[in-house]
Amino acid sequence: MTTGMTLSSGQTATGPLLSVAGDLDHRSAGVFRAAVNALALLPGQLLTVDLSALAFCDSSGITALISGRNNARAAGADVALVRVPPSTVRILRILGLDQVFRVDPAPAPGSAPDPDPV
């Protein structure tokens, strides 16, 4: 089954970075969860999830994000969603999850990208 999602990883000053491109949905949620589980997060670290290339996120995708957040919290770390597209910001607000995640919306068009969100 093709997932329509690509993941890339990196590092920021505060911890690991995961960049999600494409659709985070019931087909790709498992892949995302596995990727988060594979990260060895340390207490005090911040897992940064870059959603700037996220095309679509359904309820399974949201579940995967929460699952990632729970894993991070279990390790004493935290999660920040950065460069979140407006549609996903809207969904996160409807779900009340803007109170659970640190959500940094995508910068307005034309402004310089902000790779260091916190």
Binding site: H26, S60, I66, S67, S87, I94, G96, L97
Partner: protein
Amino acid sequence: MCGTSDGDPDLDTGIVTGTTGAGTGTSVGIGTGSGSGTGEESVDDAERAQFSALLEDSAEDLYEHAPCGYLSTLLDGQIAKVNATLLAWLGYTRAQLVGRRRFADLLTVGGKLYHETHFAPLLAMQGRLSGIALELKCADGSRLPVLVTSVVKTGTDGEPLLIRTTVFDARDRRAYEKELLRARKQAEQAGEDAEQARAEAETAHQGVEAERARLQRVVSILQKSLLPPELPRMPGLDAAAYYHPASVDVIGGDFYDLFPLDKGRWGFFLGDVCGKGPEAAAVTSLIRYTLRAAFLVDSDPVHTLATLNAALHERFTGSDPRYCTAIAGTLTPGGEAGAVTVGLAGGGHPPALLLRADGTADFLPTPGGMLLGVLADPQLTSATTLLRPGDTMLLYTDGLTEARTRSGPRYSEEDLHAFVADLAPAGAQTTVDAVQRLLGGFGEGLDDDTALLALGVPAARTAAANPGAAR
């Protein structure tokens, strides 16, 4: 023949050689050849001998070495004459056959029987038989397939004298027939194999189809168990609902219910479990009964959602978490001029839409209400409104507001707001029917299941002709 052909390239040499050769056999030739005056005649004789050989006018040689076997038998079957070709094929000497064997002795057991019952009587009756396939026994015990043609030679008085038989070697033909037969059997076998494979594929296909139909029945039955079989009739209130499955093969996670509470009040909820399939359906079943039970204990919508949240959070904290969004609320009739008070709470769910009797439409937001099951103590937000005659409230799941439209972008809440604003004022059934048609228009773009629940107060009696208020 050989000598003749040797002489061909050079006529002069040939003549000299031929004359010498001929001279040894024909004294006349030599005699005339010795005289110088008769040299011309001697050359003529030699040429005639060469042509004679070329034309095969030696009947004896033609008989003996013909490309087919010849056999003459007496009327009792005794072999009277046989040619060298047939003797060579059979491996017998002439002395072994002539006057000692009958034609039938050369046949196989089956051939003998056929000869006695068919061949000989027919030949006697017709005087001729042709192209009969038989097998002859050779001296070394091998079999020689042949085609036999026989004629009865009669005397001048018409009395039969003997039987003349030609025998054609049919080995090549028999091999060809066997090859044809083998090819035919192979083709028939291939045909049978193909038919069997087709039948097996058909059986397998039927099995798969039956299994699929069975699965769809199970999915359909389970799905129905997650939804009320029919909505209750409420005095002074209309209700309509619609459930659109994402697929006949996959059970969805959307749910809704409408049920009586005490003092003429009604409870309702609608929600969406994250994910699809049997696991989601199991959770959906748990949610439905948890909410119904919670309403019995305490009908405050915030409290019912808090109870549900606690059940989900406690139950599904492992590697397979299950969350849901929901709106739950109560309807309290008995307000001024038929108005019904709505109190509801939202947990991470898209806001309800209100279609007012005056033709406007608004969201009824529950901001900050959180997805249920994520946190132990989530924020849950309540809202109230008054439904007056002609007002309808629409609850929906995000299958609707996340459908991919044919033009590309997803159908948004703003799109839905504009759609119902055009529709208002409309009764519960009219609203559900219109949104159902909208969903149908998404076609393949509707990749999630979708639930709709509309609750309305019928328009005043003067507007009873409104089909939406008919229920």
